[in-house]
Symmetry: C2
Subunit: 190 residues, 2 copies
DNA sequence: GTCTATAGGTTGATAGAC
DNA sequence: GTCTATCAACCTATAGAC
């Protein structure tokens, strides 16, 4: 069980990690933001590492679960890609700071959690790659290098948090519509 | 003037910063990689900050210069975007580690250099935004939110280094062709 | 559940010998 | 141009009082 106080610590930590990075945020910084002393943090968490692991693994597991729900569906490749894009947008909006930590500080996980994270990331990419190659084979997608399609899609989705947090006025429905169209159909008028 | 030894220090530093981030690399780590002691580094550089600033500003200035060359050209919007995409690909290949530092550690620049960097980045985005809105107005580009086009393009180009370094077998010409097509025309077959 | 005090280690950087 | 020795500041984490 995670207490309310622990959740609060993790939420604030994620905000600070997003701004300055895991290594540049000290336990004193974190404690100060909560209005307590650094030593008091250890009544709620066991280490700085634990905070990082909770943040990163929560988002990573969320992506994995959603992918495993979408992957086996009996729908077109286009529909699968749309679902995945919308899922990334929703997680970005709900977990902006967590996502920033995952992107910037995953390499600072300890050995065991790092291995688990990389396993999840590889699994996710593998399934998305399979959706793309299915689309190329059945003619839904253009014949292009599948790694280029995979990573140009993923890199936009993974760094969405960077500019979404600068444009909070952007309506979710507009974002979903225009980003999906841009990623799937490009920008040049036919 | 930058001596050969100083260049070597900066090159190795960029490699380490890419792997672990600026704050997780100590002067002792850097010295060890060069086969000397940490104190000896200070015969060549004045501070750890100086190394970071040289790395980041060099790439940032390079992007700015190229954009200022492309921006005023009397060519179509499509051609301008193609030129910018190719420029990003070339800088990514030539300066992979420098680019990683710029992306991950720009916020650790000191006050003065941070202001200069942000000024350059804002200027770059402003000019690219202008190219995009020109394209929407003259009908070359689809009518979409211009911020969405701007940042979906930029986020792929900015994080290209992440996966290019994992796929060094990828031929530059294939990358230029398929990435340009994917970004400009999408992936769905018409 | 928070505090003070502190252990034990690492950090960036300097002084001065060679 | 590199070394050893060292400093002051900072780090994560623990012990024990309240």
């Amino acid at each position: 069980m995670i207490s309310e106080r622990k959740k609060e610590i993790i939420t604030i930590a994620a905000k600070l990690f997003k701004e300055k990075g895991y290594n540049a945020v000290s336990m004193r910084d974190l404690a100060q933001e909560l209005g307590i002393k650094a030593a008091s943090l250890y009544n709620h968490i066991s280490s700085k590492q634990e905070i990082l692991a909770i943040i990163i693994l929560e988002v990573a597991e969320s992506f994995t679960q959603h992918m495993q729900k979408t992957f086996p569906k009996n729908i077109s490749v286009r529909q699968k890609l749309e679902e995945i894009i919308h899922m990334h947008i929703e997680i970005t909006i709900q977990k902006t700071n967590y996502l920033a930590c995952l992107n910037n500080d995953w390499m600072h996980l300890d050995e065991k959690n790092l291995a688990y994270y990389i396993e999840m990331r590889n699994g996710y990419e593998k399934q998305l790659r399979k959706i793309i190659s299915e689309g190329i084979e059945n003619g839904e997608l253009e014949k292009r290098d599948e790694e280029i399609i995979l990573f140009s899609l993923l890199s936009t989705l993974r760094t969405l948090y960077l500019w979404y947090s600068k444009k909070p006025s952007l309506k979710i429905e507009l974002l979903k519509r225009d980003l999906t169209n841009t990623l799937l159909s490009g920008v040049i008028k036919a």
